[in-house]
Symmetry: C2
Subunit: 644 residues, 2 copies
């Protein structure tokens, strides 16, 4: 790879010659790959190209070691400029240019329509706009925690500036002094629907300035100006910089220039011929035949994305006594601190916690106190925080995003979806789920945490029954790669006990995903509970058992992955009643029903749970009004037992 | 009600006397109701109180007619200041003060922890921060469409200013000249976790200014200053104003003042006694006994929220011919235009369409051309747009939010959830769902539209099979109150035909939610398809039927509400295979499985669908690689038939 850095004050002739030659090749690549795919986004690729070249050529990156730890990170936020990104990476030696031209937007390779993290040189999969700066914030935080001094570059679209999440990220960067982030806006003044000034008038620079960024306007097609402004940004340790790069959509081919249609349209056959003429290259350079042959040939594999998850010791479980009442969120806070301490021997633990102004409620205060530099108070900016936590999670740090359920799940579902696509490992710790939120009322009732997150392929969902199970689940979650959500209520809960009165999830218990836990054995029907309501279900079941009906009680902590053996055990019962403070449409009851049908089982099933938003009131009164207090559960089970 | 307006330049003595007396009573109400509930948010209620009084006293509202059409709208965005809002409304005559003090945060009334639209005088349920200004934008658009000149006031928190959605709303307001919106920031400088300057440093005024708002800083406890600034805002037709009201959290009770803890904590018994002393009132005024008696008594009902949905004629269905290929999104665009025209006799139709820079792709262009003033290009600002569309939908206008699936569903789930809590009627028209998005790749694959929206109680989900069904479903959706999402792919589809070759969803067909449509009858097993894949499933089934196996094909357009009769018909089959380009975890297959189990049925079931994010490529190649092209479906069905 040709290699430069930010040391020298001015671009030299050698660079400028390389730039001119490479830009010419890249422009051809962009037109060719979109033309061959008959789809893609040439317009923004061509407008971003000159600053892509200056940036990639000067950044501390290495095509031979695409993922070396100390590398600078380039997070391209307007991911539809994939042709531009791929062509620059190819011309720098990350992969053969012909290979990406042949594979672009075809299902047999990683060169997808929007840039993907699997492509060497791409740091974050984007395509949903507005998330790139947040991701770079997460990465910059990771570098700080690891003591690495690296730069972070965030090319962005101009239409994208309309997204509110960008403002959130700007503020986070300034608050934490992430001055090693430089943003570059491809200000070509066009978006899909036309002029940005028609679609949504906006003073882009003023917005950045209002959040404390230094704004520099540059000619986005002049490498000298770009270099000067980027160099200044990199060397300024007082503030992060944004470059507003004045560019021309479709730059390089006159008939494409300033035409919004080429935002998302490839050159057709006639236009391809025009491009050849305008390029000044020989017709041979533009010959499609060798590329078509390459399409037909077997693809060359890319380097493989390395695994980065740190080794984490789970520490020693805490057992909460049988007569103790603790809230699951406190048990979470305790276990989080334990694990952090267990991995901090002589150094800082590879764990970071993100908060959105709810530290006291989500019980991360003890962690904060012990590891203040690993705690990131990100304010009431959930979208940004979820993305930043997600991006940090791929970088060798265990990234915990703690929040209320409605904010950490319903509000930020799409951010977690993107982290999943990025093979992230974020740990979402949500408290105040279910009706346990009590007086806060409908807007705060997170009664969809299973139903919403079930859609994320990589997300493992844990809903613990009591503080002991919470403790063990938190340790499992932190020590295990992958995305997790642990969903906890707000109130103090009784310790679930076995028939001998000992903690059920105590020292003999190991958390295993999928497992169904038989808290009470019986054969007259089974109650299957989830999370916060397990204590109430136990009280109800104990009441019924005293009348002689040998009702069983099981708990399922992982409703979206239930072991087949447990389902088969359930099928032996005359009936089942599921109990949850989650919507019955999509929660435990729905998961069990679908899973039972898939196993070929048919037994009577009553779904107790949330059927409409519940009123505001003390948690106990809300449960009572929804028929989900111990008495209500008992009555429903007994009535159902009689009917079946 | 005591009544003022913005005509007079200065506040008179009468107002000031009323203000002082009422503020004193309200402060007592706030402390009492939170103390009795032992929960709630007194701090911000007390800091917002003075501008609440000036605003509510001068706005064009009427406790006797809380929902008269021309009223000003007051959208309180920091909904946790419910004690302040309720006390002011009560003191203005909306309901008895004692009643709200007694019912606050108890499950037997509408006076919930966060303000709810069911309370007369409350325009929008808030509690999730950052959405109020967007809601006011939607309402202001509604007033414009109805030719009503009204003011819109949006009190907001200062911590809330961190939310990015507010910037999006600011830009929308300026773009559309919604200068009859005035925002007021309760700048008490504290949020739950402490000082706003510690949690997230921010230059609030500069942010608003950067988006084109006029910023006025005022003493938020001086009614004269507040009046002057609000009056200026109301009379300025050149720009919307924001008032930064410098206030004191807990204002009025010295020990509460400037203490972040009182953001969300009620006065305890000792503190209650302190409040009595500090108030200067008689101890009798603060006597809790009569209030406790009132708690025990039956609640007084409030006025009932009126229904506002307009009468909509559905127009005459279009039938796409058997040999025609049309994309569902074009059929949506055509039906939308038809219905608008059918309801525009001599006037503008009560329909508005919101777009996020995708007009050409979501096919709303014809509507825009015909009714340009009813089309709102809101830019790449989906959160704001979803909320604005939701708020407009409760105001007598049919509000259509058209977008790609990933943006209109995954990105904005929480906004739709809030609209549902507000009893909204928004119509979400999503295109590019499923794998039909083709080359755009993983980030754009909306394979969770059923699974995500299933969680919203009021959301009806329609996934039409072809352009004819789309046409009829769109007409049904627009003419019917309630929240709907219609989910459509991108590609041109064949018209689904019956065995005689006529359009199946043609003139004899009426769209009915819940209905299962038997496209081919048979008894050797049933394929049940959804949406875009129905044509491919038909091709597969026809292929199998030619080999002699009498496989049936049904279509389900409303996977989350399936008629029991249809399930019972399915149960007669030796097996079923569900076919969808949605995640198999949460889509049609999962819904049918859960519903079949609930009906007590047990038959073999194969779920064909999306099991992981699919690659980028032409839609056909993506379907092929996922085994969801006609050949893949046919092979899977035949293999499953042999196994069972």
């Amino acid at each position: 790879m040709r290699h430069w850095n930010w040391e020298r004050e001015h671009l030299d002739e050698e660079y400028l010659a390389w730039h001119a030659e490479t830009a010419r090749a890249c422009r051809r690549d962009i037109v060719q790959m979109t033309h061959l795919a008959n789809s893609g986004h040439p317009g923004g690729s061509l407008s971003s190209l000159d600053f892509y070249l200056v940036m990639y050529a000067h950044a501390n990156i290495d095509p031979q070691r695409p993922w070396f730890e100390e590398r600078d990170r380039i997070v391209v936020s307007h991911g539809h400029t994939s042709p531009g990104v791929y062509s620059v990476l190819a011309r720098l030696g990350y992969f053969p240019p012909e290979e990406v031209i042949a594979r672009f937007r075809r299902p047999n390779h990683v060169f997808e329509g929007h840039i993907e993290r699997e492509v060497p040189g791409v740091e974050w999969t984007t395509g949903n706009l507005g998330q790139g700066l947040s991701a770079a914030c997460g990465m910059a935080i990771g570098h700080r925690l690891k003591g690495i001094s690296a730069q972070h570059y965030v090319p962005m679209g101009d239409g994208e500036q309309q997204k509110g999440q960008i403002g959130e990220a700007r503020r986070l960067a300034v608050k934490f002094g992430l001055h090693n982030i430089t943003a570059i806006v491809d200000y070509n003044r066009l978006q899909i629907g036309g002029a940005t000034s028609d679609i949504m008038p906006q003073n882009i620079g003023a917005g950045w300035e209002s959040d404390g960024w230094k704004v520099n306007e540059v000619d986005g097609h002049d490498p000298v100006a770009i270099h000067k402004a980027m160099r200044a940004a990199v060397h300024d340790e007082a503030a992060p910089h944004v470059l507003i790069a004045n560019t021309v959509m479709g730059k390089g081919f006159a008939f494409m220039e300033d035409i919004a249609d080429f935002h998302g349209r490839a050159a057709n056959d006639d236009e391809y011929q025009q491009c050849i003429k305008l390029s000044g290259d020989s017709a041979e350079d533009w010959d499609l035949e060798p590329l078509r042959q390459r399409i037909a040939a077997s693809p060359q594999p890319c380097a493989e994305l390395p695994s980065t998850y740190p080794q984490i010791a789970a520490g020693t479980p805490r057992t909460y006594a049988a007569d103790q009442r603790t809230d699951n969120r406190s048990a979470f806070g305790n276990a989080l601190l334990d694990v952090a301490e267990a991995n901090a021997a002589g150094q800082a633990p590879p764990i970071a916690v993100f908060d959105c102004d709810l530290e006291g409620s989500v019980k991360t205060g003890a962690f904060r106190k012990a590891f203040p530099n690993h705690f990131f108070e990100a304010g009431i900016q959930e979208h940004n925080t979820a993305t930043a936590a997600g991006a940090l999670s791929v970088d060798g740090i265990v990234s915990v995003f703690a929040d209320f359920g409605v904010f950490g799940i319903a509000e930020t579902y799409n951010q977690h979806r993107l982290t999943d696509i990025n093979h992230g490992h974020v740990k979402v710790a949500c408290t105040h789920v279910g009706l346990d939120v009590g007086e806060d009322g409908k807007t705060h009732q997170c009664i969809d945490y299973v139903g919403v997150l079930h859609n994320i392929f990589g997300m493992q969902i844990i809903v613990p029954a009591d503080p002991n199970q919470t403790d063990r689940a938190v340790r499992h979650m932190l020590a295990t790669p992958g995305m997790f959500t642990i969903a906890m209520g707000r109130s103090k809960l009784p310790t679930i006990t076995d028939e001998s009165g000992q903690p059920f999830f105590g020292n003999a218990y190991t958390f295993r995903p999928g497992q169904g836990d038989w808290i009470r054995n019986g054969n007259a029907g089974a109650v299957v509970a989830m999370g916060t309501l397990t204590g109430r279900a136990l009280e109800a079941v104990e009441g019924i058992r005293q009348t002689g009906d040998n009702i069983a009680l099981a708990h399922v902590a992982t409703p979206t992955e239930i072991a087949p053996e447990f389902l088969d055990e359930l099928a032996q019962q005359p009936f089942i009643v599921t109990v949850e403070d989650h919507s019955v449409r999509t929660g435990l009851g729905a998961c069990i029903a679908a899973a039972m049908f898939a196993r070929g089982h048919a037994i009577p099933h009553l779904r107790l749970g949330v059927k409409q938003y519940a009123p505001s009131g003390s948690a106990e009164s809300v449960y009572r009004s929804a028929g989900l207090d111990a008495d209500g559960i008992r009555d429903s089970v007994m009535k159902f037992a009689k009917q079946t």
